[in-house]
């Protein structure tokens, strides 16, 4: 079986400086795969290249067997790829409901979209209580929930999340991961970028460790959790 997402020899550079140095990884259908690494390891750069926000300087990205390297981000949505960007990126001056609708921008099945908005509200009741509130006035955790809900409205086959736990209190992080797990259980394939290695590996099937733009370890999430090198570098001993 071929992978849903297959990344080969991906290279990303800013000016002359290489942020990602020929990395290979893949995500199979139905998997929850995590890419962990320290600050500046190149996690977001990888996602930016995958989602068309920047053009990679080398390598190929294959999705469902189709070469999607360098396709602009707005064209990827229709193919079933959604990115929940670093720092959430909710539209601060749009209300919660409008933010969710923007997630479904590429679609035209209005009745079904509204049904799915209701499903999101059922899954995340906190958003329902705040439909008319401007997204900029939501708490950080609520914004993250909104960003995930919004991405789901694109009906993605592949959902990519960039550090959903960033800057959130433990209780909120737990809630966010409950939502992520629920989405994974319902069959959406997930590529999760995290600095919180413990949490990411506990929830994922497989993981990759990114260090200074290179993948240094890969494997089954449980195995990585037990790996002494991972323990030493990312799990506080």
């Amino acid at each position: 079986m071929s992978a849903l997402l297959d990344v080969k020899q991906l290279e990303v550079a800013y000016g002359g400086i290489k942020a990602i140095k020929k990395i290979d990884f893949h995500v199979d259908e139905g998997e929850l795969v995590t890419l962990i690494g320290a600050n500046g390891a190149g996690k977001s750069s990888t996602l930016r290249a995958l989602s068309g926000l920047i053009k990679p300087v080398g390598g190929t990205v294959t999705y469902k067997g189709q070469d999607i390297t360098g396709i602009p981000s707005h064209a990827l949505v229709g193919l079933g790829i959604a990115l929940c960007p670093e720092g959430r990126g909710v539209f601060a001056r749009l209300n919660v409901h409008e933010n969710l609708l923007m997630g479904a921008y590429a679609r035209n099945d209005k009745a079904q979209i509204l049904r799915e908005v209701d499903e999101i509200y059922t899954m995340i009741p906190r958003l329902k209580e705040r439909t008319a509130q401007l997204a900029g006035t939501l708490s950080g955790g609520e914004q993250q929930m909104l960003a995930i809900g919004r991405a789901m409205l694109a009906q993605p086959k592949l959902l990519m999340l960039d550090e959903p736990s960033m800057g959130l209190a433990p209780l909120m992080v737990e809630k966010i991961f409950e939502i992520i797990n629920l989405i994974a259980k319902r069959g959406t394939t997930i590529l999760l970028i995290e600095q919180n290695a413990q949490l990411a590996l506990e929830n994922a099937h497989r993981g990759y460790v990114l260090e200074s733009g290179e993948i240094t370890l890969a494997g089954d999430a449980k195995t990585l959790l037990a790996d002494p090198r991972v323990k030493a570098a990312y799990l506080g001993g």
Partner: protein, 301 residues
């Protein structure tokens, strides 16, 4: 000063102000989405006025009834201006989207001069008289005088502004415009083709400008290749006064500017009328640089 004179000037101010408001919307929409001051917008308004004028005269000559001639002329002028606006963005501004902000600003001034020269080539340097398609016979209401042309200008402006607000706040495309104005990258991630949204923004602003151009030309009974300059400057002032980037700001700013100018006429000679716009601009920039309704720009860092 009698109260009648004041009321009369308020009515005149509202008529002129609503035209300023329509033009100001073009500036503010583009600024909201690109943080670019499209100095060529005044010229787009001029092209709208001249296109409509030539067409209307030709249609009248061909025996078309005045109202139909006017409507056709306006519709075609709107299409022409929308095309000009979209082309200007595509050719002159898009390549500079990531350039330092001074570059597109200077380009905008260049485009403005370019469009004026094109207008000279196509229409010539003459002053054209705009045919009286809607009656300008004075109507007395109490001690105030207004004519049907002015009434139509007022009603049309209000309708267009209401329509624009509705579009921006209640439709998918309008929500996408606001999303794009806020964060182009994330808008792209939603599947929004931001180039398309930006083109639509230019098209709408330019089409509104075309209508405003026809209003000015019909109100003063004339049009010429240079009319976009002062009108554009004043509408820009109105947009800044209201808070550039903010639709309500452009409307309120336009109306206030029209009122200030016309009420001011009670106190000074007509030749000094244009001074008011710029006194107001300087005062706003000193005391409330974010405009009357605008948000502080730092917020959109």
């Amino acid at each position: 000063m009698s109260i009648d004179v004041l009321l009369q000037q308020i009515v005149n101010g509202l008529v002129v102000g609503s035209v300023y408001a329509l033009v100001a919307l073009g500036y503010t929409m583009v600024y909201g989405i690109l943080q670019l001051i499209n100095f060529a917008h005044g010229e787009v308004v001029m092209i709208g006025a001249l296109t409509a004028l030539v067409l209307a005269k030709w249609l009248l000559g061909a025996g078309v009834p005045p109202m139909i001639a006017l409507l056709l002329a306006i519709l075609i002028a709107m299409a022409v201006c929308a095309a000009v606006g979209v082309l200007v963005e595509r050719i002159a501004y898009r390549p500079l989207r990531n350039a330092p902000r001074l570059a597109p600003l200077i380009t905008a001034i260049g485009v403005s001069i370019f469009l004026q020269q094109i207008a000279i080539l196509v229409f010539g340097r003459n002053y054209f008289s705009f045919p009286e398609l809607i009656s300008k016979t004075p109507i007395e209401i109490g001690h105030i005088t207004i004519n049907m042309n002015e009434i139509v200008i007022l009603i049309t402006s209000v309708a267009l502004m209401a329509g624009l607000l509705w579009l921006v706040h209640n439709t998918k495309i309008g929500t996408a415009m606001r999303a794009t104005a806020e964060n182009q990258k994330v808008a792209g991630l939603m599947g929004i083709d931001i180039n398309k949204i930006i083109a639509i923004t230019f098209a709408i602003g330019s089409a509104l400008g075309a209508i405003a151009g026809v209003m000015v030309a019909s109100n003063y009974g004339q049009a010429h290749y240079y009319m976009g300059f002062m009108l554009g400057l004043k509408a820009f002032t109105a947009a800044v006064m209201g808070g550039i980037g903010n639709l309500w700001g452009a409307m309120v700013g336009g109306l206030i500017l029209g009122l200030v100018e016309n009420v001011g006429l009670i106190f000074v000679r007509g030749d000094y009328k244009d001074i008011f716009a710029f006194v107001v601009l300087v005062a706003v920039l000193i005391f409330r640089p974010q405009g009357l309704i605008g948000e502080r720009v730092a917020e959109r860092a």
